[in-house]
């Protein structure tokens, strides 16, 4: 028996904002591929507005709302205690929602066509920046809740290992706090004042460096919930155990420590940082592959345990013995396949010199769509399919539809991104409304453009099926088979952990040193070289 309240309403509110926005963004994605392939009339302004809205919604709205909602539910379920401060959680939610409205309205009104990476000195309507700040500020309600719940649990259970799902969630809340600093400073002290006319110019180099601070840890903030599901939810559904609890903790700690200092790799092609700092960032970037390689090993080993417990024998027999019919298990297998491909592309981008070949070509969106849409979003689907029955008390409307949806998404993402990699190697620039370039170049691109449009249609069908399935679950008549969110047991239960693996103080200190090393001088230089500022521009 448990005496805690499951924050189902809170989590559902967050999830529905996330997935409602997601559906809009997927439709915008379809518009972009159709427009770009010139299958519908070319309207450049519409295209760039769509890119801005698609990016803002996917990168900031879907993720932040999903992760905070999942965080509340995971925290309460794994610690078996109610959310510390529910009014604060709702206040955070309302603030974030107000932020979203302030961001979306100017974007749709063509007052903020600056793309989701803010491209200063392009200057949007001030509400766009104010909305971004509100979105970030509101998420702090979640961060505070997670940290207080962690500390309270520690006080009542001194010396005991944190439940792994909460350990990872807190790692993500801390990571998010570090992440916010860069973009927060850039928006609050540079872009917002510029848009309001309080200053008439800004240093674009400083603004871009601050933005780069955020850009890598941001992706790990998105990825951690996917890894939480892979480590703690999927092994149990598959009928197995978590291969190694310690390995999981090490992976989450490494993500926290290695992710923030390496955003500089987004500036490889920028003139205001020198080669040495870029080389340092390249090394750090390869280090962040370590937690993902550990995760790949541990979660596949966990699946193998499940497959063998289900009677699968031989070298590969365990794979066919896995419960492929479970949407959560299927999702993880498909997500890992796309993660492998995306990881490969990422290594190319990360490679300092080799990046020159693919920088700002279609290779780049190919890479991040594989990781974001292919891996992260596929696991968000899995989490939703797993949690919806628990939150609503109703069984999932249709597991068959869920499997179809996951396969369609997998096929759609593969069809979208594999041609994009190839187009990148044929130097197609990313983010152009259409392609009025030399005909001999455009001709070699064309067949792949049509394929990408087909992929867009498949992805929209998949997204519609997903949302439809969740909606129908709310009114489904059959009761959920299991209300409690239970997590996978490790193969070897942990009773005692070395202190560094059971807390974050040491890792925050190391991260601080690493951040000062990685970003100290690259930021300080702007105050030493007296750069020339840029004026505000429209688009």
């Amino acid at each position: 028996m448990s005496d805690f309240t499951r924050p189902a309403g809170l989590a559902l509110a967050h999830f529905w904002v996330a997935f409602g926005a997601f559906l809009v963004a997927v439709l915008l994605g379809l518009y972009q591929v159709l427009e770009r392939a010139e299958l519908i009339p070319v309207w450049a302004e519409g295209y760039y507005i769509a890119v801005t809205a698609h990016g803002m919604i996917m990168a900031y709205v879907l993720t932040t709302f999903f992760i905070t909602g999942f965080g509340y539910y995971t925290a309460a379920s794994s610690l078996r205690r109610s959310v510390w401060n529910v009014p604060l959680a709702w206040a955070g939610f309302a603030t974030m929602l107000a932020g979203v409205v302030l961001v979306v309205v100017p974007v749709l009104a063509a007052e903020a066509t600056v793309l989701y990476t803010f491209y200063a000195p392009l200057t949007a309507h001030w509400t766009f920046y104010a909305g971004t700040l509100l979105l970030l500020f509101g998420s702090l309600g979640w961060v505070v809740n997670m940290i207080v719940m962690t500390v309270q649990w520690q006080r009542t259970n001194p010396g005991e290992p944190f439940p792994l799902p909460m350990f990872a969630t807190t790692a993500n809340a801390i990571l998010w706090s570090w992440t916010l600093v860069g973009v927060g400073c850039s928006v609050a002290f540079m872009l917002l004042p510029l848009s309001l006319g309080w200053v008439d110019s800004i240093d674009v180099g400083l603004s871009r460096t601050l933005f780069a601070w955020t850009l890598h840890p941001l992706t790990c903030f998105w990825l951690i919930p996917a890894y939480i599901a892979m480590y703690t939810i999927v092994p149990r559904v598959a009928g197995g155990r978590l291969y190694s609890d310690k390995m999981a903790r090490i992976a989450f700690i490494l993500l926290l420590v290695f992710a923030p200092p390496i955003g500089m790799h987004h500036l490889y092609a920028d003139p205001f940082q020198t080669a040495g700092w870029k080389l340092l960032a390249a090394f750090g970037t390869f280090m962040v592959a370590v937690p993902t390689l550990l995760t790949g090993f541990a979660v596949i080993a966990s699946l193998e345990i499940a497959g063998r417990l289900r009677g699968g024998g031989g070298m590969f027999g365990w794979i066919t013995a896995l419960p492929w019919k479970e949407p959560v298990v299927l999702a993880q297998i498909l997500a890992l396949l796309l993660l492998t491909l995306g990881g490969f592309g990422g290594m190319v981008n990360a490679s300092y010199g080799m990046n020159s070949m693919v920088h700002n070509t279609m290779w780049v969106p190919a890479h991040f769509h594989l990781i974001f849409a292919g891996t992260v979003i596929t696991m968000y689907f899995a989490i939703a399919y797993h949690l919806w029955p628990k939150m609503t008390g109703n069984g999932l409307y249709s597991a068959g539809l869920a499997r179809l949806q996951l396969w369609l998404w997998f096929i759609g993402i593969a069809m979208l991104t594999l041609p994009w990699h190839y187009l990148g190697l044929l130097w197609m620039p990313r983010r152009t409304a259409n392609l009025p370039y030399a005909p001999e170049f455009v001709r070699q691109w064309q067949p792949w453009m049509d394929l990408m449009a087909v992929a867009g249609v498949i992805l929209v069908i998949s997204a519609l099926l997903f949302v439809w399935n969740l909606l129908q679950t709310h009114s489904s008549r059959q009761p959920a088979s299991e209300r409690e969110l239970e997590f996978a047991e490790p193969l070897h239960p942990v009773f005692r952990l070395p202190k560094p693996l059971n807390g974050f103080t040491l890792w925050n200190a190391i991260l601080l040193v690493y951040m000062v090393m990685g970003f100290g001088y690259p930021l300080l230089q702007f105050f030493l070289i007296e750069p020339h500022n840029a004026l505000a521009w429209g688009w």
């Binding site: 003139p271 592959a289 370039y437």
Partner: protein, 174 residues
């Protein structure tokens, strides 16, 4: 732990993978000078770019320096590159210097490693050698062996960003 040897083996595999990749980066950086743009940070006043000595319109273009290396000075602006037409010899050490009077741009010459951001307030410097054998596979070949290739702006710079491209004629190695 029971499976420690397996974990150790995987750790060794991870370590070796990273060593090979980082080793390749260091090797190509130092042996082939495969650097990203920006060995030093140079600033410029973008609001007065046309008044500076270096980026005045009649000082832009291609010059051959006494040591045989080539200097290319360009301006990237909404929505084009100046000079509009350039002839650049292949096979020679080349330094490209480019700046912008307005917003962010990109500059990418397909088939080469010349791919840089152009940022208001800063001068982008790229060092490269154009490989004729590579470029001839992709561009439009003329009778005299010269190859026309596009120059793309590959960073969003405004609503007509996709119209921002130019062409350079790559001359064969003499």
């Amino acid at each position: 732990m029971q499976d420690a040897p397996l974990e150790k083996r995987w750790t060794v595999i991870i370590g070796s993978m990273l060593a090979v990749m980082l080793g390749s980066i260091l090797y190509t950086a130092f042996a082939y000078h495969a650097y990203p743009p920006g060995t030093t940070v140079e600033t410029v006043d973008s609001t007065r770019l046309h008044l500076t000595e270096e980026f005045r319109e009649d000082n832009l273009g291609v010059t051959t320096r006494p040591d045989g290396s080539v200097l290319v000075t360009m301006v990237a602006h909404r929505y084009g590159f100046t000079p509009k037409h350039m002839e650049i010899p292949a096979g020679k050490p080349l330094t490209l210097r480019v700046a912008t009077p307005d917003v962010l741009h990109g500059l990418h010459i397909p088939g080469t490693n010349i791919n840089t951001m152009v940022v208001p307030g800063y001068i982008s410097v790229v060092n490269a050698v154009i490989d004729y054998d590579e470029i001839v596979k992709h561009g439009e070949l003329d009778d005299d062996g010269s190859v026309m290739v596009p120059v793309f702006c590959n960073e969003f710079c405004g609503l007509n960003h996709h119209f921002m491209w130019g062409e350079v004629l790559i001359l064969p190695e003499s």
